[in-house]
């Protein structure tokens, strides 16, 4: 148990410190970094999904006025490490997926670069590709682990026996489609190698972690950390797609390498983001539930089939939330992958939990309906006393409180559980519920310093603010650790010149960086007491949390949706979506609400709209822009509310906080799909819930 800080700044509804700069447009993003005389990089992408590049004719492009150079795999510099095939940019002729970078142009203006890439002619020896995911493929394999390091399969008790013997069983298959992160700001880098030849590289990169980018780049270019500086004050969203460096960062550095002393700008187009910046794999989830007549689960199983890229494995941990969500003595979770000729999947907001709470939470709704039990009550009856997987008690678990509070706020009581019986003004009306969960994570490495100067305290840590609020929240934590007004504290982030920080991922930023800052303050006060002098400085690092030995730690939530389905057209609308979360102490209510609402809105998009259409004939996503890949428009978001219950958890960290960046997207789609069933009587097991999927029934 850690002593939680006495909250003075923590818990305050402070406005975003970087808000005014962003609203005024003075916040500088990677692609607009003011540099002298930049060159512009544009890329040529493979138009086959598998095969070899046999020839790249660069003559016309190179001859164009303003073109500085055209890079191909023949003349691009050899990288020191090509272990990561996704990042081995222009290192060979092999094509692993459609959209892979096969050439690049450097030019004096972006327009010339753009014109030049159209003039590069690439010839391929195409091979037959395979880009079709199916559960009945005969080449599915078991990955060694699923993201990040979970075992792929777990077996507890005897699930088959539970299915054979339980009085009530349910078996159904649910699917979620391929999804793309689509942050507003595309992946962008400004790269500069120093002219002296000393091999110093500066990258202004849009990233969720400057130090992780540096680490990757130093490996790939065989550099020392001191030779690379990565700077990223602001990020226009990432949702995981900027959590690990993708090929674009290496491309920018490689291009700039050709022109030492001149900065190079490289930004992906929206279309390019659909092949080069990661995505969420489609998932096929076969669920089994074995239950007593009173709804108590005897067994729960999820067998997941999903895809990865043939050139690099990423195994989404879709089955993992089923391991500790509900009490059931018999449990099975498995993951099988198809390695396809497709772009490389990666993190997208709540990898694992987000898709992995769709199947289970719709299955629970189906079970509730089959048994005639209120779906809220069914979940309460299956609340575990301890973490079903590890047997550890939860440091705090307030799913039941969230369900009750949500039901109260939403007006759930007295709900007529029959589906397809409420027609109002030509719309079928229904309501649905689903649970949310997200583990409380702490990264092993992060260091911060605190310096005192002229009456102010300055924290420094290479953290990232991808719109989440780190610029604001970290000073709140530091101020409370110091016991000084938050107005007297600055925390500088987004630069590898600051001490090393972990990635902004896994909703771990506040826990990890906050803990490092608290340690630095402790060190500072130990050294200098309450009356420091100018220039006094101390450093501290995040410690492993000893309480993790004894406690399971997760945030929980419950989401309630009202859905209307037009009786003549099947159009689906969500007039109400209310979430209640239990996520430890909320450091800043204003910013936290944005995180929850943002997650829920993205969950709404998952429920109704989002779907990357990967054409199996070509291996590329054909609806690769925001006119065709739909995310919710304002008109889709109606009465959206996020609430939380006060949770006092002394085990998680000094702030008492749990991660909140991802949980909002977890469970939303299930709540909406469940409400659509309640409205129409049509059970949609495949996302998104589009009108054609609910239309046929009525």
């Amino acid at each position: 148990m850690t002593a939680t800080l006495e909250p003075r700044a923590i818990g305050r509804d402070l406005a975003r410190r970087d808000g005014a700069a962003k609203v005024r447009g003075t916040a500088v993003y990677a692609d607009e970094t003011p540099v002298a005389d930049p060159l512009f990089c544009r890329i040529v992408q493979a138009t086959v999904a598998r095969g070899r590049v046999t020839e790249v004719d660069t003559a016309d492009a190179a001859a164009l006025d303003g073109v500085v150079t055209v890079l191909t795999s023949t003349d691009a510099e050899r990288l020191a490490s090509t272990d990561d095939a996704e990042l081995a940019v222009l290192q060979g002729t092999e094509v692993g997926f459609r959209g892979q970078i096969v050439a690049a142009v450097l030019a004096e203006t972006d327009e010339v670069a753009r014109e030049a890439v159209d003039l590069v002619r690439v010839t391929y020896a195409a091979e037959e590709h395979d880009a079709r995911l199916a559960a009945d493929r005969d080449d599915l394999y078991t990955p060694e682990s699923v993201n990040p390091t979970y075992p792929p399969d777990t077996h507890e008790g005897d699930m088959a026996a539970a299915m054979a013997e339980a009085p009530m069983t349910l078996e159904a298959t649910y699917t979620t489609p391929m999804h793309h992160n689509n942050p507003m700001e595309p992946h962008a880098t400004t790269a500069l190698w120093d002219a002296s030849g000393a091999g110093h590289l500066t990258l202004w990169d849009s990233t969720q972690g400057v130090h992780p980018v540096r680490q990757t780049v130093t490996q790939i270019f065989a550099l020392e950390p001191e030779q690379v500086r990565v700077i990223c004050p602001f990020v226009g969203g990432g949702f995981g797609s900027k959590g690990t460096p993708h090929a674009n960062v290496i491309m920018a550095a490689l291009a700039a390498r050709a022109v030492p002393g001149r900065p190079v700008r490289f930004a992906l187009t929206r279309q390019q983001m659909f092949s080069l910046a990661g995505y969420r794999t489609p998932t096929i989830q076969r669920m089994q539930l074995a239950a007593e007549r009173d709804g108590r689960l005897r067994g729960i199983a999820i067998d997941v089939v999903e895809q990865t890229s043939r050139i690099k494995e990423f195994a989404e941990q879709t089955g993992v939330p089923t391991r500790n969500m509900y009490a059931a003595s018999n449990r099975r979770t498995t993951h099988r992958l198809a390695a396809l000729d497709v772009p490389v999947p990666s993190w997208m907001r709540a990898p694992g939990e987000c898709p992995g709470m769709f199947g289970p939470e719709v299955a629970m709704d189906e079970l509730a309906a089959a048994l005639g039990i209120d779906p809220v009550e069914l979940r309460i009856r299956n609340e575990p006393e301890v973490d079903p997987e590890t047997g550890k008690p939860f440091s705090s678990r307030n799913l039941v409180a969230c369900l009750r509070e949500g039901a109260e706020r939403f007006g759930w009581a007295g709900r007529d559980h029959r589906p397809g019986v409420r027609l109002e003004d030509g719309w079928w009306v229904g309501t649905g519920v689903a649970a949310s969960v997200y583990p409380t994570m702490r990264m092993p490495k992060s260091t911060a310093t605190v310096t005192y100067d002229a009456g102010r305290f300055v924290g420094r840590i290479g953290a990232a603010d991808l719109g989440t609020g780190a610029w604001t929240v970290l000073p709140q934590i530091t101020a409370d650790a110091l016991g000084v007004p938050v107005e007297d504290v600055d925390v500088l982030i987004g630069d590898t010149d600051h001490p090393e920080a972990s990635v902004a991922g896994g909703s771990s930023g506040t826990t990890t960086w906050g803990s490092a800052l608290v340690e630095a303050v402790r060190e500072f006060r130990d050294k200098y007491g309450d009356h420091p002098h100018d220039g006094d400085a101390a450093s501290g690092s995040v410690n492993p949390n000893a309480a993790e030995e004894d406690y399971a730690m997760s945030a929980f939530g419950a989401q309630f949706a009202e859905v209307r389905v037009h009786a003549d057209t099947g159009e689906v609308r969500v007039p109400r979506l209310h979430g209640v979360f239990a996520a430890g102490r909320i450091v800043n209510p204003r910013l936290a609400r944005s995180q929850f609402l943002g997650g829920m809105t993205m969950g709404l998009g998952m429920a109704l709209h989002e779907q990357s259409l990967l054409d199996p004939r070509t291996g590329h996503v054909v609806n690769h822009d925001l006119a065709e890949y739909h995310v919710p428009a304002n008109a889709d978001v109606d009465d959206l509310q996020a609430h939380w219950i006060d949770e006092d958890d002394p085990y998680v960290n000094a702030m008492g906080s749990k991660g909140i960046g991802e949980i909002g997207i977890v469970g939303t789609a299930a709540a909406v799909a469940n409400a659509a069933w309640h409205a129409t009587g049509v059970r949609v097991r495949d996302l998104p819930v589009t009108l054609d999927r609910v239309l046929p029934a009525r």
Binding site: E115, D118, R617, N623, A627, A635, D636, T690, L695, P696
Partner: protein
């Protein structure tokens, strides 16, 4: 993207000649469609002739009680015009259902009907497309076909026309005023767009250098009771899966007169003559509306696709038409 020349000739005639002279010249109006195509490499003109200042930006009353809408009238201005709202609600509703506020502030009356299909393969120069590159094949057939045609398609192209405004104009018997290299002419709006047949590279009957100068909407008392109903995959800012433009006159429980055009179903805004015929004189009931939809869809041929295809458009269009006519009849005040 290629370099191109940009010209602003002194008048419309000069503009027509400037384009007619050069096979690689195009008109530029609001630019909301053609500029995207420049960026995507879908269009590669050598010369853009800006016509926004050369055609009228006025909406004038015609002697018969109709309106003449200058080609440079912005979509947002047209939607807001009180005469349009009073006389042609179907048009006033169709316009704001399209695109976004920003786009409608740029988009013009001449450019809107000439916007090109949103077929994802047409917009992706790495895939074959007969419309973009005649003879290269049609990638949409057997591909993602959710947004594609169920009426009037060919083995060469199954694209739909994306405009909402055009569906309303097709229902209203609008007339297109054209200035061509050989002079003026008038084209019925329903004849402006073509079916793909074996020449999907053509969207319309306009020749190279033909400039739309205005669109006339004739007096149509029936149109005061009209409606545009658009069904799409999200609540706003999306193209129609299907849409219905309808004007309905019901007297004594019988359909006296009716105009129907359908969007999202064909290579052109689809005037549903068969449905209109089926309805004239029929009782104003759901059964009649359903029969009208059936008549309109007699020749419907859905497309398969890896995305599930578009067979759903048949029940969807039926439901949309029935509900639109039912609502219009419900508004009906005449006895």
């Amino acid at each position: 993207m290629r370099p191109f020349a940009y010209a602003t000739p002194p008048d419309a005639r000069e503009a027509v000649l400037a384009v007619a002279e050069r096979p690689d010249a195009s008109f530029l109006a609001g630019g909301t469609n053609i500029v995207d195509h420049l960026r995507l490499g879908v269009a590669t003109p050598g010369l853009l002739v800006d016509v926004t200042a050369l055609t009228s930006a006025e909406i004038e009353d015609l002697p018969d009680g109709g309106l003449r809408i200058g080609a440079a009238v912005r979509n947002s201005d047209l939607a807001a015009d009180h005469r349009v709202r009073a006389r042609y609600p179907v048009l006033a509703q169709a316009l704001p259902s399209g695109a976004s506020g920003q786009l409608r502030n740029m988009a013009t009356t001449g450019g809107n009907p000439l916007q090109r299909t949103r077929c994802v393969y047409f917009q992706d120069v790495t895939t074959p497309c007969n419309k973009r590159e005649p003879g290269s094949g049609c990638a949409a057939i057997g591909g993602a076909t959710r947004n594609h045609a169920i009426l009037g398609a060919s083995e060469h192209c199954i694209a739909t026309h994306p405009s909402d405004m055009a569906v309303a104009l097709a229902a209203l018997d609008a007339q297109v005023q054209v200035l061509g290299p050989d002079g003026d002419r008038t084209i019925p709006f329903t004849d402006l767009h073509t079916l793909p047949g074996s020449t999907p590279e053509h969207d319309t009957v306009l020749g190279h250098g033909d400039l739309i100068t205005a669109i006339d909407v004739p007096a149509l008392p029936l149109a005061t009771r009209s409606r545009y109903r658009k069904v799409r995959d999200r609540a706003s800012y999306a193209f129609a899966l299907v849409s219905v433009a309808a004007c309905l006159d019901v007297a004594d429980g019988e359909v006296h007169d009716v105009r129907i055009a359908l969007g999202g179903v064909a290579h052109k805004p689809w005037r549903a003559h068969r449905a209109e015929e089926a309805l004239r004189g029929a009782p104003a009931t759901d059964e009649s509306y359903r029969a009208a939809a059936e008549a309109a869809l007699t020749d419907a041929l859905p497309q398969e696709g890896f995305d599930g295809g578009n067979a759903f458009k048949i029940p969807l269009l039926t439901g949309t038409l029935v509900s639109t006519l039912r609502e219009l009849a419900g508004e009906e005040t005449r006895t």
